[in-house]
């Protein structure tokens, strides 16, 4: 019952990835340095900001010489030896594709669960009311299997019906289990308090 849903999810993800392409970088080098004002002892307000420098350079170039000097060379001219040791450079790596796929899967799963929940709350009682005769048959079958305590017997039973019946059967069984769990936790408070 899940496989078609998951297929669509993956297909959708795949389409999105192909369409969107790669717009964001996967690596960066981020350097934090004290503001230049400290160094030059000037009171120039424009220089008195906290400085982050981000560049896209190979890992071995991720240091003051590779990132800061090309950018601020003229401002700190001659004082590189004082300035550079106070900079902290960090090379960071990420994978945008994985993030994208994961977030889209999460959104899909949540939406499917919400839709299914809405279905169970709104539509299912209506459908069940109509198919009451059918439902009676189900419960009988259930009792029988319950007496036989699961296992292959219930298999034999369910193989007989067509696929739809089987899905419905499984769903009923599952619903009963959840109802039991709910009773344990929310009504009787015997577990997970």
């Amino acid at each position: 019952m899940w496989s078609p849903i998951f297929n669509t999810v993956f297909l959708a993800c795949f389409v999105l990835i192909v369409v969107q392409g790669q717009a964001y970088e996967n690596t960066r080098c981020i350097c934090g340095c004290p503001s230049i004002a400290l160094l030059t002892d000037s009171t120039d307000v424009t220089l008195n900001t906290h400085n982050f420098h981000i560049a896209n350079v190979p890992p071995n170039k991720c240091n003051c010489d590779g990132v800061i000097i090309p950018k601020l060379g003229d401002k700190i001219k001659g004082r590189e030896n004082e300035f550079c040791p106070r900079c902290e450079c960090k090379y960071e790596h990420r994978n945008v594709t994985i993030i994208k796929v994961v977030v889209i899967i999460v959104i899909w799963v949540i939406s499917i669960l919400v839709i299914y929940m809405a279905f169970l709350i709104i539509l299912d009682p209506l459908l069940n009311k109509r198919a009451k005769g059918n439902y009676q048959e189900h419960t009988n079958e259930e009792d029988e299997t319950a007496a036989g305590v699961g296992g292959p017997m219930s298999h034999n039973m369910s193989v007989r019906g067509n696929v739809l019946n089987r899905v419905g059967h499984q769903q009923d069984k599952w619903k009963r289990q959840v109802k039991e769990q709910r009773r344990n936790i929310y009504d009787r408070h015997t577990m997970l308090n």
């Binding site: 960066r28 934090g32 106070r86 902290e88 990420r94 945008v96 977030v103 949540i110 036989g148 015997t190």
Partner: protein, 816 residues
């Protein structure tokens, strides 16, 4: 922690039995007989002691169908294929470790013997041998992947409360501003990330924008929390809570059907993402253990060796629990130790290695997914390499004491609240409760920047050192970065004092909110909130000591290390020690906690401070309140968990504990004189989960033990298979040829009979019995007097007795 509770099991099992290969002749009976056999390849392990002294009756028996049963009595999986469901357990029942281990040994024997037959069986044997490793490999792979999904999903959704990245909605704020333009860098904010007020067309500054952001924050939090609570309620109620008390109970040998199922797994993952994103005071680390165990349980069904044997399955679950902690903290060794110290009950060396492997694989997978972009599996990984001075041990131990006190306050208050929820009307409104707590959390969290941010981020901020790149208020010191090589010690600026006040508020807020949050009906963990509480306390103490050192640099205490003007006190380290102290006080972990903490910091230099704090916190915690939070919740729920850490210190005897009590009768089944009607009547009238088999009612000599479930299944099976079974049919638990002259055919049920039940005498002290239950993993033991059967003691009788002795309500043990 008992390491080998089952190790000695082979001795009592083998001693009284003759233990043979499959399909061979065997001997049985009183267990003191030898075998006459013409089979050449038969392995004889006859009981040596006393066999010669006695007048041994040598019996050689042929079974009619040629498929012999063992005197151990458990029908082996392969031959019990005709009775479906044997060897399984009902919901809320205790498993019998002895029986399951014996079943596995039979299965293993069968495979070893069959190995020579053909290539195929050889391959089957090889597959059987490596299936344990394969299973934990798969568990590790999947756990790592799931943890990656949860980490990425939760960070993205947390930032959704503040704004969105319109060009790429799947990126969170940090990743959205991964490579900002030069203009953005100068202004200090990032133009790609839009807050909700910007999306609605307002500016990003000002009172209007603040109110809009505030409202959006509350609305998103409510939405996420409502979704989480209703998904849990609708699809998998078992997904709520942290799961560790239940995992502990399950690993100690208890069945909770569906607790580790597919739906629980899905809903726990999704609900966890949602409830973490809602900004509630909870973490995703504890539930990772539950998630990993659910994965372990589902995957173990791929391997019948583990899927169909509850005792063997617990080996996989122990490994999975280690993988869970491994991915939660990026601490593989800490995970293994956590599994050993905290959750597992039965932990042989084989399981230790498998846990190690499983944790390794899981950590590797998560690390290669790299969910936080920092090359580590946790957001709050910090790297420290600063020395600490000897004097600092005093504040560290003080932190341990504070941590123990905070933990005790938390445990007592949380338990009080949970008990109130259990017995009052509050428990009837689980979703409403979640919504109310969410609204309160969101309303009070937003104004304070330290509570507004994600708890993991706050922990990271508190752990980290004040470097150049750290521009938070916490690092607003009056220092000028003139000295190149080190950061000098400096007076705290206004920012630090502001931060201190905000942190004190945050501490109180987090403590109160966590008390009300833990135990709500959403997936919620406890590690992160307690780490956070401890980190706040630690940072505050750290700042205090740092300023002390700055003021009194000339004092003899500080003069050695601090006189040079270096920053000799690191408040971040105090935060770490404080975090360890509170977490240690709450969970009463020691070894695994210290290992987890030093794996988090990537250095072994701080082991002594962490150990000191963890130990102090445990002592204070134990002195103020006996139980850790998980044990307290186990007791609150009444799970049948026989803690191997507690000691039994009373002088009662088996006769005081056993069932039936005086003037009640013991329900027994005779081995060859009861009819089917009698048995069915007995099953209807009594609710015992097992019945002793005796030679006759008059003599009460014990033959064996049969489980109610097996009896039901076997009777149903015989009725189906054998024609002519009716109410008058005799039910035979003997295997000899009975002269069946008249009447309907008998039911031969010997194969479901356990011929080696553990027996004790009525004068056995309870101390011994409790030890046996713990170490052998028994489900029940039979009490004899002068060789005659007197009664039964089950695990639940023992638990009830322990409660009674501790002056607690014995009826609080549920699932009787």
């Amino acid at each position: 922690m008992e390491k080998f509770p089952l190790k000695s099991s082979s001795i009592p099992l083998n001693a009284a039995t003759t233990y043979q290969t499959m399909n061979k002749k065997y001997s049985n009976g009183s267990g003191l007989s030898s075998v006459t056999s013409d089979d050449s390849d038969m392995i004889d392990i006859t009981t040596s002691t006393a066999a010669g002294d006695r007048n041994t009756t040598t019996r050689s028996q042929d079974d009619d169908d040629g498929n012999l049963q063992y005197s151990v009595g458990f029908s082996n999986m392969l031959e019990s294929g005709d009775i479906p469901g044997i060897g399984q357990y009902d919901d809320f029942h205790t498993i019998d470790w002895q029986r399951d281990i014996a079943r596995d040994r039979m299965r293993h024997r069968y495979i070893v013997k069959k190995k020579q037959d053909s290539i195929w069986t050889l391959l089957a044997g090889a597959h059987d041998a490596w299936s344990g490793w394969l299973c934990v490999l798969l568990v590790g792979l999947l756990t790592g992947a799931v943890a990656g999904v949860i980490d990425i999903g939760a960070t993205w959704m947390t930032d959704l409360k503040f704004g969105i990245c319109p060009q790429a909605f799947w990126l969170n704020k940090e990743h959205c501003c991964w490579s900002p333009s030069e203009a953005d860098l100068d202004s200090g904010n990032c133009s790609q990330w839009k807050t909700w007020s910007e999306i609605l067309g307002h500016s990003s500054e000002g009172a209007g924008a603040y109110i809009i952001s505030y409202l959006f924050y509350i609305v998103w939090a409510l939405l996420f929390a409502a979704l989480s609570a209703s998904l849990v309620r609708m699809f998998a109620p078992y997904a709520c809570g942290s799961g560790i008390p239940e995992i502990k109970t399950i690993l100690s040998g208890f069945i909770i059907r569906g607790y580790l199922g597919k739906w629980t797994l899905i809903i726990k993952c999704v609900g966890l993402i949602l409830s973490v994103s809602a900004g509630l005071s909870l973490g995703k680390e504890g539930p990772m253990v539950h998630i990993a165990c659910a994965i372990g349980n589902i995957l173990s069904y791929l391997f019948p060796k583990y899927g169909r044997n509850e005792a063997k399955k617990r080996e996989i679950l122990s490994a999975a629990a280690a993988a869970g902690v491994s991915v939660a903290f990026g601490a593989p060794i800490g995970g293994v130790l956590f599994s050993l110290e905290e959750v597992s009950y039965y932990f042989p060396l084989k399981t230790l290695w498998r846990s190690f492997f499983c944790a390794l694989i899981a950590a590797f997978i998560l690390r290669s997914i790299n969910p936080f972009g920092n090359e580590h599996s946790v957001l709050f990984f910090v790297e420290y390499n600063k020395p600490w001075i000897f004097f600092e041990l005093i504040p560290f131990i003080a932190l341990g004491i504070i941590g123990g006190v905070i933990a005790t306050i938390f445990i007592k208050a949380n338990l009080y609240w949970c008990r109130y929820r259990k017995y009052s009307k509050l428990g009837q409104y689980p979703v409403t409760e979640v919504l109310v707590v969410t609204v309160i959390t969101a309303v009070f969290a937003y104004p304070n920047p330290y509570t507004r941010m994600n708890t993991s981020q706050l922990i990271y901020l508190l752990f980290s050192q004040c470097g150049i790149s750290n521009s938070d208020d916490l690092c607003n010191y009056n220092r000028n970065f003139t000295d190149v090589n080190s950061i000098e010690i400096a007076a705290a600026g206004d920012g630090v004092y502001r931060a201190v006040w905000l942190l004190i508020l945050a501490l109180g807020f987090k403590l109160i909110m966590t008390i009300f949050t833990f135990g709500m009906k959403v997936p919620c963990g406890l590690f992160i909130p307690s780490l956070c509480l401890g980190a706040i306390v630690g940072r505050l103490v750290g700042i205090f000591v740092e300023q002390l050192a700055y003021r009194y640099q000339k004092n003899w205490i500080f003069s050695g290390e601090c006189s040079t003007g270096d920053d000799c006190i690191t408040p971040g380290l105090y935060a770490m020690v404080g975090a360890a102290a509170v977490l240690g006080g709450v969970t009463r972990m020691t070894v695994s906690l210290v290992v987890i903490m030093f794996e988090l910091t990537g250095g072994v230099r701080y082991i002594v401070p962490l150990m000191a704090a963890a130990m102090a916190s445990k002592w204070v915690g134990d002195a103020l309140g006996r139980q850790g939070i998980y044990d307290a919740h186990i007791a609150l729920n009444g799970y049948p968990f026989l803690d191997s850490k507690d000691e039994f210190a009373h002088t009662s005897l088996a006769a005081d504990v056993m069932q039936p009590k005086r003037n009640e009768t013991l329900s027994v089944i005779t081995q060859d004189s009861m009819t089917l009607d009698d048995i069915e009547q007995l099953l209807k009238e009594t609710e015992h989960n097992g019945y002793p088999i005796v030679v006759s009612r008059e003599s009460q000599y014990l033959v064996g033990f049969v489980l109610r479930r097996d009896l039901n299944l076997a009777i149903a099976n015989e009725k189906r298979m054998v024609d002519g079974i009716c109410g008058q049919s005799l039910v035979l638990f003997t295997s000899g040829h009975t002269i069946q002259a008249l009447g309907p055919p008998p039911l031969k049920l010997k194969r479901i009979l356990d011929m080696a039940p553990i027996t004790i005498t009525d004068q056995t002290p309870m101390e011994t019995i409790v030890d046996m239950f713990r170490k052998l993993g028994l489900r029940q033991t039979l009490v004899t007097h002068n060789g005659r059967l007197l009664g039964v003691i089950t695990k639940k009788d023992v638990l009830r007795h322990v409660k009674q002795m501790d002056n607690e309500d014995p009826n609080s043990v549920l699932f009787n």
